[in-house]
């Protein structure tokens, strides 16, 4: 036993002196738990966290439509923005859903016609649709429940051939019943519906749209695509970006390997070396990165039918920008870390945190606004926006230029940092 304790004490001493091991053991789980806790809390519908963005185009501008907008605003799970041209914005992925209130909707309700509302949806964001449904239906019913019910009843009675006084009598009876139900609701202390995605059917709106006077219009995605391919597009792009970061940081790490084996020092003493060593490493890393992306997307296309051929030029240029940014990050880490082991620990921490924050693991749309803003400080978020834009929303090169621009700016900034670190560490003789 004494010898066992001696061995254990020795291993503990070595472990405590290994900062990288300590970081991976203790810091990494804490960082990931923090990130996931924040993100998952939002998905679970906690009031303090995320809301799903719902665009509303109020063409009616009546008291009834204003009341509906106000009711939607009061819903815990929705972040309502009243704007115009909502269909195009959903189609472009700017928001997961939008409600269009047509002109005359309020008057139609008063006249017993519950129709004309249109809900535009982005099927790629299926979880958000459940949150929208869970929050929108109570709001709609609270504002126009009676009218909708009356319209439904009239339609039903008409279907059974009941019209005239008999129909009026039955409508009065039903109205009284509804009034009693309202009174009962008022006395109850029921909470308004929050983001109840977990309790909803897969597509709660599909089963009851027209009877409520609501049409559902799924507006995005390539013609042949399905919700499954939307998820798979996200998964393929997310994993591609994350694994690219890992593999390119490993490529950057060859600088440290060369330093350890003495070849870097030998290269420094050649007349032509200098920064060409760093630039050569960057080129090598870029080639590996592009090859890795081509392989992953080809696999995604073959196995999961990810629509990579819709805008090939945009995909190639975006992938180049992603690979450039990831390469620069890998080089910054390589010239900053002292040893390969330190690089492995640091890059694992940085890349996993960036992937979780930047939407490589789950769509950022599910997370709170602050999380999304924070996520866009990572290159993952811009890469994911770009890939989703091409693969799901069918954008062409022009459509993803903002993402490409940001990624190239990140690449340039990080490359400058890498060059500075390289110069300080490997070029200046001290």
């Amino acid at each position: 036993m004494r010898h066992a304790l001696t061995v254990a004490a020795k291993d503990l001493r070595i472990f405590v002196r290994d900062r990288t091991g300590m970081m991976l053991t203790f810091a990494l789980p804490l960082v990931l738990v923090t990130i996931f806790g924040a993100a998952m809390g939002a998905m679970g519908g906690s009031k303090s966290l995320g809301k799903v963005r719902l665009l509303v185009e109020d063409l009616d501008a009546s008291a009834k439509s204003s009341a509906l907008v106000d009711a939607l605003r009061r819903a815990d799970g929705l972040n309502v923005e009243v704007t115009s041209d909502v269909r195009a914005r959903v189609a472009d992925g700017k928001a997961p859903a939008a409600l269009r209130i047509p002109s005359g909707w309020g008057a139609g309700l008063e006249a017993g016609r519950a129709s004309g509302l249109v809900l535009y949806r982005d099927p790629a964001q299926s979880i958000e649709q459940q949150i929208v449904a869970g929050n929108m239906m109570p709001a709609l019913m609270s504002v126009a429940g009676k009218e909708i019910g009356r319209a439904m009843m009239r339609k039903s009675l008409k279907a059974f051939g009941i019209e005239g006084e008999a129909a009026d009598e039955m409508e009065k009876t039903l109205s009284a019943t509804l009034a009693e139900a309202d009174a009962a609701d008022a006395t109850a202390s029921g909470e308004p519906s929050g983001a109840t995605s977990g309790d909803q059917d897969a597509d709660p709106l599909r089963g009851m749209p027209r009877t409520l006077g609501l049409e559902v219009d799924d507006v995005t995605g390539p013609d042949h695509a399905s919700e499954t391919t939307a998820g798979q597009s996200h998964a393929v792009a997310g994993i591609a970006v994350m694994m690219l970061l890992f593999s390119l940081s490993a490529c950057g790490g060859t600088i440290l390997e060369e330093e350890a084996q003495g070849t870097l020092q030998r290269l420094r003493l050649t007349p032509t070396a200098g920064r060409s060593v760093l630039i050569g490493k960057a080129l090598f890393t870029m080639v590996v990165g592009m090859a890795s992306l081509v392989l992953l997307f080809a696999f995604g296309a073959l196995v999961f039918h990810v629509p990579v051929a819709t805008a090939p030029l945009a995909l190639v240029v975006l992938s180049f920008a992603v690979a450039a940014a990831a390469t620069s990050l890998g080089l910054v880490l390589a010239v900053t870390c002292r040893t390969r082991k330190q690089l492995e620990g640091t890059s694992t921490l940085v890349i996993l945190a960036m992937s979780a924050l930047g939407g490589s693991w789950f769509p950022l749309a599910l997370t709170p606004a602050w999380y999304q803003k924070l996520g866009h400080f990572t290159l993952n978020a811009w890469a994911m926006d770009g890939y989703q834009g091409i693969l799901w929303y069918g954008r062409d090169l022009r459509g993803v230029l903002p993402e490409i621009g940001v990624l190239l700016a990140i690449a340039a900034g990080l490359m400058l940092l890498a060059l500075r670190g390289w110069r300080r560490r490997f070029e200046v003789t001290t």
């Binding site: 084996q261 020092q265 030998r266 050649t270 007349p271 070396a273 003789t429």
Partner: protein, 299 residues
């Protein structure tokens, strides 16, 4: 303390040659530890200088400064007429550095390593193949050119490590303990390679702990200790500075009449004792195992 060699007596041709290395008052510290203090060294073109000293004496630091790898804190340094800190790129094209550690790509073959470093050292593409072939032959690795370096023995890697630094035909070569940890056959091969360089007029600065190597390969010796040059000169110069032991050796042309010679001396009242002139251990080893390189096994 300084030690210069402007009036050295060792070597014949180099004495009248211009200086390849001129160092005055060189100082270098790492934190509070002084690695070099007020060091003066000169090396003439075509000369082979042995840099000796115990561990931590400053040999490697001196080579790093002269070869543009490290900047000096103080002093005046000229290598082939250039300032290593200002004219690093130009100087690097004219010097070769054999590092103490093996600095090769294990996964690449010997030829691939040589081609890569040759290109990086600026060997013209038209001459690259010729230089690589020369290097493989000089290292005794022509028949293993296509094998990965990781399959080489320590001696083979050492030899390749040396010729990599010679691809661009440098005028001045720094060799930092180039024979560490290799078998006598490989060491002997390295000695022959260095001797060839000397014969071609290449200036050499050679550090080692193997004193016999310096004796065999170098025209002149500088001994460093605690960052200073405590002595310099030819081996004979240095030997003359150390008080001789009481005895003297008398070399006879032939051992046939040695006993007769001893008796003659005794007859004149001169006490003498006969000793056999025994070979050193390395000489015995090479005699028994041969001079041929033993590259059959991997390290």
């Amino acid at each position: 303390m300084t030690s210069t060699s402007s009036s050295d007596t060792a070597g014949t041709d180099p004495v009248n040659q211009p200086l390849a290395v001129a160092v005055r008052g060189l100082g270098k510290s790492f934190g509070s530890r002084a690695a070099l203090r007020d060091l003066d060294v000169e090396v003439r073109r075509g000369e082979a200088l042995g840099l000796l000293g115990p561990n931590g004496a400053g040999k490697t630091t001196a080579i790093r400064i002269l070869s543009t790898s490290t900047a000096a804190d103080a002093g005046h340094v000229r290598v082939l007429g250039l300032d290593p800190s200002r004219d690093a790129a130009a100087l690097r094209a004219r010097i070769g550095v054999v590092p103490q550690e093996i600095a090769l790509y294990d996964e690449l073959t010997a030829r691939e390593n040589l081609e890569f470093f040759g290109r990086m050292q600026g060997v013209p593409p038209t001459r690259l193949d010729e230089r690589v072939t020369w290097a493989l032959t000089a290292a005794g690795l022509a028949d293993r050119a296509s094998d990965a370096v990781k399959t080489f023995s320590g001696g083979m890697q050492r030899r390749l490590n040396i010729v990599v630094a010679l691809l661009h035909e440098p005028e001045l070569v720094f060799l930092d303990e180039p024979t560490v940890g290799i078998d006598p056959q490989s060491r002997n091969h390295v000695h022959e390679l260095v001797s060839t360089l000397r014969a071609k007029g290449t200036t050499l600065v050679y550090t080692t702990h193997q004193l016999g190597e310096v004796e065999r390969l170098c025209d002149r010796i500088v001994i460093l200790d605690h960052g200073r040059a405590i002595a310099s000169g030819s081996l004979a110069d240095l030997q003359s500075r150390v008080p001789a032991r009481g005895g003297r050796r008398l070399a006879l042309g032939s051992a046939d009449r040695a006993e007769e010679a001893r008796a003659l001396l005794a007859a004149h009242g001169i006490e003498a004792r006969l000793e056999r002139d025994l070979p050193g251990l390395e000489e015995v080893f090479l005699a028994l195992t041969g001079h041929e390189l033993r590259d059959g096994g991997a390290s």
